[in-house]
Amino acid sequence: MGEQVSAKTVKKEDVAGWIEKLQGDYAVIGPVSERGFTSYRRIGGPAEIDWGYGSTMIPPSKTVYVPEQALLRFVKSEDGYRIEEVLPRTEKRILLGVHPCDLHGLLVLERAFLGNIKDAYYSAARANVLVVGLNCQSVGDDCFCASLGTGPFFGYWMWQGPPQGCNALLTDLGDRFLVETFGEEGEMLVARARSAPETPADVGEKLKREAASREQIRKKLNTENLPGLLRRNLKHPLWRETGNGRCLSCTNCTLVCPTCFCYDTWDRAELDLSVIERIRRWDSCQDERFAEVHGGNFRSTREARLRQFVCHKLSYWVEQYGCFGCVGCGRCITWCPTRIDLTEIAEQIRVEEERR
């Protein structure tokens, strides 16, 4: 990629002015906490941003890949229907304060949508989005990003150079933010702030805080030969015990996952059939009808559906896209009503295989 990496610091008292300037040119979407609950939404002003937030229910990648959108429109004409393409509006946006797990979530999701075959809709929605990350110093109980190399601080060397799609990265250093930029667009963002060049003391403080953050992480996932381990254990009784015994098929795990990309399509017609829209909306492999065809269902049991979710994230994804489909954000665990935990499933299978 060869894009230049630079680092500056911005004093906390100057941050509000910086963000207000950015709001002049961009819609700024950031973490806002209300009634004890944080979510990504367009901010009114810099004071709304919760810099110390933990996690959100819906990941920031899904402000780009939205729950429902029209793909095309059929408009009644003299000889049938005219086909009109409906690409998403591309308002200039900044996704601000994205934790490293979710930055990876976005980049991993993009391997699915912007790989060999590009999805025109994701492409259009992403085109005017700039992403500003925030290294994480508020590790939660379900976080296991360190096991997947996706956090708590963003190690952009993983991408063999600055990652395409992350424009700048913030680290809270107490009275100031360290702002690292990757490439021209990131430079342009920080150029709007009153800033000072990075000093050796800033680098030292960042390393100290990274170590402290890493220290907080309790949850682990052993990823060594994990794809193969799961592929060898597709008939393990744990799938049945957990799937049929505990899974409610509520689909929460897939809805809150930053990398889940599956969608369904359906046609929504005006009552007079003058306009028919083809809509896509998130679908879930945990839904009973997901793999249904005429005369059968390839995953009719909760056992099969849970196995699909876990094996896709931790095994199949690696073959499909060259990385894990899990970024260790822990949302599927947090939001599971019966606390099904994919790290426990993987660990139990590993322990039993080693014992055999």
């Binding site: 393409e85 075959i117 999805d119 597709l234 046609d267 679908d283 492999c285 793999a291 249904e292 390839f298």
Partner: protein, 275 residues
Amino acid sequence: MNLQLPREAILIGTKEHAPDTRTFSLRMRDGDARFEFRPGQFNLLGLPGFGEGPFAFSSLPQVDGSFEHTIRAVGRLTKGLFKLKPGEIVHVRGPFGSAWPLDEVKGKDLLVVAGGMGMVPLRPVLLEVFSKRADYRRIVILFGARTPAELIYSGEFDTWRRQPDTTLLLTVDEVPPGTDWEGHTGVVTGLFPEINVEAENAAVLTCGPEIMMRFVARGLLLRRFSPSRMYTSLERRMKCGTGHCGHCQLGPKFVCKDGPVFRYDEVSGLADTVL
């Protein structure tokens, strides 16, 4: 390029095989360019308000630009397609997916095993190998269906049988009272004792219900056919054709873009298949 945008095709005509099964002949509306595809690939056909579904090509590309799909009316979309009259519009996206490896299996004996509507993607295979007959050795076709009426393309059976060094064996699960039937009854694997191809030098192309393909594959493995020269065409739910909607996933495979034609040993043993 937006691969989710359909193009318009004109319905040229239909041919009825059974009250619920017809072959649709279509031609793209924009210009007369030949619509190119390979046997085994599929289109997503759609109608406004009815959505889209995947349908295998049942013909080869025709010189006049037309192509065929044989369709059974089982759901909303297919029933909608059955109401169309010649000259009306069908939306087409495609072609998508992998093709039968007809170049790789040149010089081999071909064993073609079809169950019911599984004959649809295999018909263009037969049409192509018959047109290049010298490139292949013996051809044995096993075709099973529930009843004699469900043996589609029966009007072509005599033509197939007249090809050099070609055998067609038929079997049905049941013969309804009053039906004239002189062929075999029972599952398609029951025909195995009659096949006269050399296992070591044969390629197998099979399409049908997965449970049928399971027993076909296992039965042939016992007869020393090679798992790396057995090919299957799989069915899964598909919405996009581009590997994005996720429905067709089978283990690490996307059936819509990595398949629908797979080598048997690529998909055997994966989760959620009986292969």
